[in-house]
């Protein structure tokens, strides 16, 4: 299929969708606030940008995600490696890590609220928790998946432990680490939105939640579009290429 055909199909689908939406907004017998027309969403966008609200909230949410990514990487990778090098330790801790990963950070939020109250710290703890576990878990799996023959090979050549870690284990685990980061951040982004709704310390989640209180539905829709678009952009430009590159550069044959 040529790019022209794709573009045409795209545009006609988009146009059709917008048309149906506008007609529905104009004709359906519901209160105006339930279904704002597409133009209203565009107006909400300009309104929120002119007032400085949207950029501030976007920056807030992104800042929290960046912090979570850095902290999770700094904690999850060393922990994963430390646990992964010993088969016994890895087998022992794997069920624990798995369990705590499936109890997402949001489920811990009420406990965090008791500990830290309604503030930024609660949000950060919940989101960091959500991102750390997939990273640690995948790092552990990555370390375990490095074939023993490489490790033993370096050992017979007399390499010290740290050298083995740096030259064999770390590169071998990198694809899994990248996957873990991507997975963790995907969970983390959703947890962030939920936490911002519950704790209320600014951010995109808070924005769409409080907009609902005032029935500013166009703002809700806009917020949702921004939330989805931000993740897509980050995933397309950063996470997926990084994951892909680590697999292709350091991925092992059995992948």
């Amino acid at each position: 299929m040529t790019t022209r055909e794709t573009a045409v199909t795209w545009l006609s689908l988009l146009g059709g969708f917008l048309a149906v939406w506008s007609v529905a907004a104009a004709t359906l017998p519901v209160p105006a606030y339930m279904l704002p027309p597409p133009m209203a969403v565009l107006d909400a966008f300009t309104d929120l940008v002119v007032k400085g609200i949207l950029p501030a909230y976007i920056a807030e949410s992104l800042r929290r995600m960046l912090l979570a990514a850095l902290i999770a990487f700094a904690i999850g990778v060393p922990v994963g490696i430390g646990l992964g090098v010993s088969r016994r330790l890895a087998e022992f801790t794997y069920p624990l890590l798995n369990f705590f990963q499936s109890v997402s950070g949001i489920a811990w939020l009420p406990l965090m609220l008791v500990w830290f109250g309604f503030g930024e710290r609660t949000i950060l703890v919940a989101v960091n928790y959500t991102v750390v576990f997939p990273v640690a878990l995948n790092t552990l799996l990555g370390v375990r998946s490095v074939p023993r023959i490489y490790v033993n090979g370096l050992r017979t050549l007399g390499a010290p432990r740290w050298r083995i870690a740096r030259d064999v284990i770390l590169p071998g685990a990198l694809p899994s680490i990248a996957t873990g980061m991507r997975l963790g951040l995907a969970y983390g982004w959703r947890a962030l939105i939920a936490a911002e709704m519950l704790v209320g310390a600014h951010g995109l989640g808070f924005m769409i939640f409080s907009a609902q209180n005032f029935h500013l539905t166009a703002r809700i829709v806009l917020g949702m579009l921004v939330i989805g678009a931000l993740w897509l952009v980050l995933d397309y430009f950063v996470f997926r290429p990084l994951e892909q590159a680590t697999i292709e550069r350091w991925g092992l044959i059995q992948r």
């Binding site: 299929m1 624990l96 406990l111 959703r190 947890a191 939105i193 709704m197 809700i220 939330i227």
Partner: protein
């Protein structure tokens, strides 16, 4: 009986964890209100099981999961197959479905509350749309990857469109569909708990969020453990075997 030893071995870390928990609380390192003792949590859990409050909340949450699945999976598979029949449409809609994937879940809650008000409808809607978009996307991808050779074979043998759909496309896409269902339940369960905290007054999410109001940390921990256990059991006993069986039955790559 065969699975008993690995099961016991899998249980050991958790026993160690509980022991560590008991040790920390006994040592007085953390205030009682922040981290109650394991026996407190156990007692509270037992009381809640006896007076029924635990069950009503579990049933409420699981009921929403079940309802969400019943509604969304057929819709998603149907829509995915319908769109997948046209290669052109599928190629265009796939990125769109991907976009909605990244949007799914809790971000829909304010909109859902605007439309349906507070209550189980909004919360179930979150579950529905999380599962729907994931399964729709996976169905699309699954249908697309069915080798054309099979389609042509069916057509050459004089098969109708119905044959094509039910005997080639759907089975061929099954592994992808089931993987999508598993992912959908995974994401959906989390989104459901979060939604219950915000928008309704029954369910496990509400249970733990409400307990936070009264600083009842033992109730919170009972809830958290229940949430984790339910997911663990569902994933281990239902979803993973299902996925494995689907791949073995219909997977086009032989299960190694």
């Amino acid at each position: 009986m065969r699975g008993l030893k690995p099961f016991a071995r899998g249980l050991l870390p958790f026993v160690a964890l509980v022991l560590a928990w008991a040790a920390v609380t006994r040592a007085g390192l953390v205030a009682e209100i922040f981290l109650p003792r394991p026996e407190e949590v156990l007692r509270t859990g037992w009381d809640m099981a006896l007076d029924g409050s635990l069950w009503t909340n579990i049933v409420a949450s699981l009921g929403r999961v079940a309802l969400g699945l019943v509604v969304s999976v057929p819709l998603a598979v149907g829509a995915g197959v319908a769109v997948g029949l046209s290669r052109r449409l599928a190629a265009v809609l796939e990125p769109v479905a991907g976009f909605f994937n990244s949007l799914s879940g809790i971000a829909w809650l304010p909109l859902a509350v605007t439309w349906f008000g507070l209550g189980w409808v909004s919360v179930t809607f979150i579950m529905v749309n999380t599962v729907f978009f994931l399964v729709f996307f996976n169905t699309l991808v699954g249908v697309r990857t069915v080798p054309r050779v099979f389609e042509h074979a069916v057509r050459t043998l004089g098969g109708s469109r119905r044959h094509l759909i039910f005997q080639v496309l759907v089975p061929g896409a099954m592994p992808s569909i089931v993987a999508g269902i598993r992912m959908g339940i995974g994401f959906g369960w989390r989104a459901l708990i979060a939604a219950e905290m915000i928008a309704t007054s029954t369910g496990l999410g509400f249970l733990i969020f409400n307990a936070q109001n009264f600083h009842q940390t033992d109730t919170i921990l009972v809830g958290i453990i229940t949430i984790g256990l339910i997911w663990l059991l569902t994933d281990r006993l239902v979803l993973q075997p299902l996925e494995r069986w689907t791949v073995e039955r219909w997977g086009m790559v032989s299960a190694a």
